[in-house]
């Protein structure tokens, strides 16, 4: 196995199965993600990548198998509890608070991890302990100038960055990115890749992405998913040359 096998993985999936009627979305998937890695997951459309991410955050409950995160079994835990334990997720179809401003969106994420919210009197908009971290994160994703604009009047690229900012604002240990580059122009995509590079090491990143250049430039571990099964996990160079991957991607005829 790879060099740092000895360190216990941050995330350990074993025998994960999820069936939607006849469709086997996750087929006995076993996978582990090391602390500090950028672990990319690639695979053709319908390979079950998003279903996997949804199960990781707890919105979907797997039929069988277990998810061990940071040493404890979170398979049965609901989404809010997992989030408080340090898992955060960005969404392929951005999920924001449309009429609230960008700042307020991120402040909610910060608020979620600052104890309970049964505070009825102090206005949140003047609460330094919320505003400061939120502003800092918005500046890091390049939305410093759009803090007081309602989320639904931001451009698509800006909304995606706000989506990721909200995920980061929960100061997670594991960050699940669901196709962050989807629908982005070349310039914006480059900015996003640079941004992910900038947060390498701060969080363990579980990256689902189609853009091969971004994947191979960012990831230091790649898993290939097809029909819900994990074909292979390994370093980017091994994956490039792996016959199974080529067949899954390029179809049978190209395997030499």
């Amino acid at each position: 196995m790879t060099a740092n096998a000895v360190a216990t993985p941050l995330l350990q999936l074993s025998g994960l199965v999820k069936r939607f009627g006849a469709l086997l979305a996750t087929d006995n998937l076993t996978l582990s993600v090391q602390q500090g890695d950028i672990h990319a997951v690639i695979g053709p459309n319908g390979a079950g990548k998003t279903t996997l991410i949804t199960q990781l955050l707890g919105n979907l409950r797997p039929d069988s198998g277990s998810i061990i995160f940071d040493g404890c079994d979170i398979t049965a835990l609901p989404a809010p509890v997992r989030s408080r334990q340090g898992i955060a997720r960005s969404f392929q179809l951005t999920a924001l608070f449309p009429t609230l401003t960008a700042l307020q969106n991120v402040m909610l994420s910060v608020q979620a991890h600052q104890g309970h919210s049964y505070r009825f009197w102090r206005p949140a908009n003047e609460d330094k302990s919320l505003i400061a971290p939120a502003e800092e994160i918005l500046k890091r994703v390049g939305l410093g100038g759009h803090m007081h604009i309602a989320a639904n009047s931001l451009s698509h690229g800006q909304q995606r960055r706000l989506d990721i900012a909200m995920a980061i604002a929960t100061s997670p240990k594991l960050l699940l990115l669901d196709e962050p580059l989807a629908g982005m122009g070349a310039g914006e995509a480059a900015q996003m890749v640079a941004f992910i590079e900038s947060i390498r090491g701060q969080y363990t990143i579980f990256l689902v992405e189609h853009d091969m250049d971004a994947v191979f430039s960012l990831a230091n571990k790649i898993s290939v998913l097809d029909c819900g099964r994990c074909l292979v996990t390994g370093l980017p160079d091994d994956i490039k040359r792996h016959p199974e991957v080529r067949r899954a991607y390029l179809g049978d005829s190209h395997v030499n």
Partner: protein, 345 residues
Amino acid sequence: MSAVFSDPIMSSTLMSRIAGFRPTQRRIAICTFVGFALVPVFAAILGEPFYVRMCTRIMILALAALSLDLILGYGGMVSFGHSAFVGLGAYAVGVLSFHAAGGDYPLSGWLGVFATQSALVAWPIAILASSIAALLIGLVALRTSGLYFLMITLAFAQMLYFFFVSIDLYGGLDGMQMSGPSTLPYLNLGDRNTFFYVVFVILVAAYLFTKRLVASRFGMLIRGAKENEHRLQCIGFNTFPYRLVCFVIAGALAGLAGALLANNEQFVSPADMTWGKSGEFMAMVILGGTCSLVGPIIGAIIYVLLEYWLGNLTTHWQMLFGPALIIAVMFGKRGFIGLISKENT
């Protein structure tokens, strides 16, 4: 880690551009409250004390509409049974005053202490009663959403309605005459103007409290739950208890409104709890404008004046009132507030 992006950072002072409260809405609220405060003065000049009692009723209904806007406008919980909490608050005060009047049903033993006319005891009990009801109803209702939430709140309100209809001791469907207004030290609530200003102070206090509440961390979470409850759960909030607490707060305020209504009308009857009355509160919130707290107050003014004027115009006034409501809902995009303040919070 300096920001990699070199976006021009427009520095804007935080305080002046806070998303919270738009000035024009603040000015509307101030005008409305000043207008209310002057009503007894106008009434005295004109020698028409009737307007004082009518305005007291408007302010009480405004308090109930305000509490409905808290869950309906801000929390996105479309409740069709809000009048049940108002009715429950009214009955709590009515029942206590019934037993306080002694007669042949004095409360014996430790319950005796509750048989009182004093507002300091009766009104908190009214608030407590409707809060408990809101808690129990919320526990079941908040597990559903959309049409089912609408229907289940309607169902619980109908249950409370039939419950009070079936108690003959308190007058059943005919309702119950109050034996006298609640008593406060130094203040004679029987006097029209005194009671007017007591209700006025309560309405202003409730408005300021809900204004702070909506802008607080709790309020931001409730508004977030309306916009995208799924995302809230993904960033770590267990939204159910917070929405339940919001539902209970709205129930408590409605219970207080009920206690005031009982004192204003000196009469309590199940007619205050019908689904028609719940519809009236929803109409007030819509006419005034949701998500603005001052909107429902103006909505209450519009609704009562419309009902009073059209009522005098023709016996077929509902043929005018129905279409007026439809037009207000269809074309006024956010009711009165949307009309004149041209921005939303």
